[in-house]
Amino acid sequence: MNTQDYINAFGNLTRRDMLRYSAAGIGGLALGSPLQASAVKPGKAKAVIQIWMWGGPSHLDTFDPKPEAGADYCGPYTAPIATNVDGIQICQRLPLLAKQADKYSIIRSMTHGVNGHETASYITQTGRLAGTGDVFPCAGAVVSRFKGVDAGYKGLLPPYIVLTKPQGRFSESGFMGLRYKPFATGGKPSASVFSVEGVVQKGITQARQQERRQLLHDLETYGRKMNGNSSFAKMDRCEEQAYELILGDAGKVFDVKTEDANLRERYGRSDFGASCLIARRLVEQGVPYVTINYGGWDTHKKHFDIMSNKLTELDRGFSTLLEDLADRGLLESTIVWWGGEFGRGPKIQWSAPWNGGRSHFGKCFTHVVAGGGFQGGQVIGASNEKGMEVADRPVYPWDLIGSMYEQLGIDTTAQLPHPQGLDVRVSPTEADGMTFGGRLREIMS
């Protein structure tokens, strides 16, 4: 569909409308295939904040402690703490999250059985099995399709933002392509000025921005000779959109200095803490999908040393995010999804070269969901006494992701845009040869 077709299809749009609708906002490209109205309706959830625990966090040392399993399993973490929900205990290094347990539910029976990062990352984030011949889009890209520009999102900020780096491992947008890729902020969220690549640049005044723009236009000699070229016309629209963001106020969302100092302290002044705060601000602005790409959890060696630092950082950022969202009435409409590609081996590897490390473990691990219509204060499923196997109510990544789509109002049987026009749907079904544990009905209101 070219621009003219688009205008024909949608009647007379003003130039400004065209800008908004056509080049697909920041982060988009050209024109996507039109979205059927029935594919998405208002859901309980409007947005998702995904805390991606890159590398695979230990389930035993976070939300599924096993004090009875002995020192070879729980290491120094022998005394899990009670939470504000009767009967739920979590790791002793997460005291602040313990006070927020009524807001989230713990899924202790996540499983897919794959121990390779790249394939496990693919499965947990796309809710698809590997090796089907197609590479499917991850949840963020799907939400970007159904809640982003194609669905009438008109924000100047991109609809799918990742703090701060893309995840790699696999292409997030899969066969849907570049249009649905996340916008990666780059930069350092905890720095005094968070330089979001392309949006916030230190040291260039607005006046100089304007002067530069004029200079660029004056030097666009070849571009002028090519007047009428459709590819160049598209580029011009992209430039106008870019300047709306550069010269306008939208970029201020990344500046947390206006936030209360105590609140910033509670989030923690780490990159993760700042990212959580910025994620809240982005959701407040209507951005439907934010991923915090939180690395450092692939702890093969020095596991407990690393955990003792990182758990504190995680505890502050994650707990404050939940509390802050709730205080602002945003938790009801915002899903917070915490988890990595797998858990870690319950049995500690004491011998060299690991010297107290944990391996990859895809057979049984933990994810956490909160908000957006998911009830808090619940535990779903269970692992066995040593956290080695799912003991009750398996939850596969596609069960979890399908549940999120439902809460977002996305029709899980709707078609995904495919470059070869194949008929592929948002969520897989039994016809795809997969085993299901069932959507998370027990906590979906």
Partner: protein
């Protein structure tokens, strides 16, 4: 040029043959291409654009052939050269540049899905071996039938016999999936549109591909396994191998069916047509059959005669890829201006003008690095063994599709998931614009090349022949005019026009910025012009 060619004669027989052919043929063959294109344009009443200027040709052929921007010195030399066949001579020089094989290895590794992680999961060692093999094959101009044969029929270790990785870079190690990739890569065809029987018939050639592990970590042997058999997934019956033309293949059970298929393939019409069409697409921006990997009956070539001619040239020149590059690049058709006239503005499919295309992600960042004398850092801390790319290595030389950067992702570097040409996405987006217009990444690069900004360090004058130790060198500036020439030559591969000179001088004078900032802004502006961002 003659001398260069003589020097080559002693190098080896392969080069000798290729060299002699090229001496005799390109003029005639290129003229034939032009006749075929013009006669079609004539029929349609579309006037072709004018020939492009030397400066445009130079930049274009550098970007198209070696994915590299000419340096300021190379621009000056070419523009000053008085050679009677300077364009043709330049084409020959570029074939010999190491960037030629780097750039085309990049393209081929896109198609072959060369990637350590998901979904190919080739793993780092095998990726390096595979990429090296492809690049070497291109550097020594391995005949294309040979190239295909190596990829399709090799057996052995993924580390030691690199082309076996072809069978490892498949989403599913199973006959139908493998044959889908074979058809896409070497026939430019998409099997999902084929009749079921045709699909199964081809799949049956790839049912005996065996894989086994060794004691070495991540090593894998790909081999012919006669104990395996391709079965119809619905009926579980054995399937008779059938060539895509419908003929049944009969061969003894101990014969590797991959070899039987490859014998058929390299002699087939589609084999030659699909590759000459790809080369045409790569150089011209649009296939004679378009998309270049979508050959089917209801998607006929835009110019059948041209397609036949190129395929014939290819086969009669022993599957010499460079011959096809050469005759296209030397044609008037390739050397037309991108600027349209009144009659061909809307023509996108008949090759009446050069088609503008945004620079590939890797080429774009390399060009920016070259201009600003900066580098990019690439590494992968997963999977093991960790990979660190030397700072000064070009992005077009990245072997592994899993090693990437936000910039490359943003500019549409293909994920190497499927092997479709369309995976490389060069459509402009607003986020790309944001990045070039307003990122710290680009701004810092510009500010780093002080020479480009016209700065230099003046040694304090010597008094009485003694070095004055305490005095620091002083920052000085070249004249704005000289600085501007240098910027234009290294960024846009030409001198500024009078009008541009005036605009820039005015900016130096009136912007209230210091010299360095004003110069930074001019470089910034030139990097944001379409003339820079596009091949034109």
């Amino acid at each position: 040029m003659k001398r260069a060619r003589l020097a080559k004669l002693v190098v080896g027989v392969v080069v000798l043959t290729a060299g002699l052919d090229s001496l005799a043929v390109p003029g005639k063959a290129s003229a034939k291409i032009d006749r075929l294109i013009l006669s079609k344009l004539d029929d349609l009443g579309i006037p072709p654009s004018d020939p492009c200027t030397d400066e445009v040709f130079l930049r274009r052929v550098y970007l198209d052939m070696i994915g590299t921007l000419p340096s300021a010195v190379e621009v000056r030399n070419f523009l000053e050269s008085k050679g009677s066949n300077k364009r043709g001579d330049l084409i020959e020089e570029l074939f010999d540049r190491s960037e030629f094989s780097s750039y085309w290895a990049l393209k081929w590794c896109d198609l072959l899905r060369v990637k350590a992680e998901f979904p190919s999961n080739l793993w780092p060692n095998a990726v390096q071996a595979y990429h090296r093999w492809v690049q070497t094959a291109l550097a020594c101009n391995m005949p294309y039938d040979h190239f295909a044969r190596e990829l399709l029929t090799s057996s052995g270790s993924n580390f030691r016999v690199a082309p076996v990785n072809f069978y490892r870079a498949v989403p599913k190690r199973e006959g139908e999936e493998i044959s889908q990739i074979v058809a896409l890569t070497f026939m430019g065809m998409r099997t999902d549109g084929w009749e079921r029987d045709k699909r199964l018939g081809m799949a049956a050639f790839f049912g005996n591909v065996g894989y086994k592990k060794t004691a070495e970590w991540k090593e894998e042997i790909v081999y012919f396994d006669p104990s395996k058999q391709f079965l119809n997934p619905e009926t579980n019956d054995p399937v008779v191998p059938r060539f895509p033309n419908g003929d049944a293949a009969t061969f003894p059970a101990d014969q590797d069916p991959r070899v039987v298929f490859t014998d058929w393939l390299v002699d087939s019409e589609i084999f030659a047509q699909s590759i000459v069409n790809r080369v045409w697409y790569w150089l011209m921006g649009r296939g004679i059959v378009h998309e270049p990997d979508d050959f089917r009956e209801d998607n006929p070539p835009q110019n059948q005669e041209l397609m036949n001619f190129l395929a014939r040239e290819f086969v009669s020149n022993d599957y010499d890829l460079r011959h096809i590059y050469r005759i296209i690049l030397n044609s008037k058709t390739y050397q037309r201006s991108s600027i349209h006239n009144e009659g061909n503005l809307s023509d996108e499919v008949n090759f009446s003008h050069y088609q503008v295309r945004r620079l590939d992600a890797e080429v774009l960042i390399d060009a920016i690095c070259q201009i600003t004398r900066t580098t990019e850092s690439y590494s992968s801390q997963i999977p093991e063994p960790f990979t660190f790319i030397p700072e000064n290595q070009r992005s077009i030389m990245l072997a592994d599709g899993s090693i990437t950067s936000p910039f490359l992702d943003l500019y549409g570097r293909p994920p190497r998931d499927s092997g479709y040409e369309s995976e490389r996405n060069n459509t402009p987006s607003s986020s790309q614009k944001l990045h070039l217009l307003n990122s710290t990444h680009i701004q810092l690069k510009i500010m780093k090349n002080q020479q480009l900004l016209g700065m230099y360090y003046q040694q304090p004058p010597n008094k009485g022949g003694k070095q004055q130790k305490n005095k620091k060198p002083k920052v000085a500036y070249r004249t704005p005019e000289k600085t501007l020439d240098r910027m234009y030559l290294s960024i846009l591969s030409r001198f500024p026009t009078q009008e541009e000179r005036e605009v820039a001088m005015m900016y130096f004078r009136e912007s209230k910025l210091n010299r360095r900032d004003a110069a930074t802004d001019i470089v910034w502006a030139l990097l944001n012009t379409k003339e820079f961002i596009y091949r034109h």
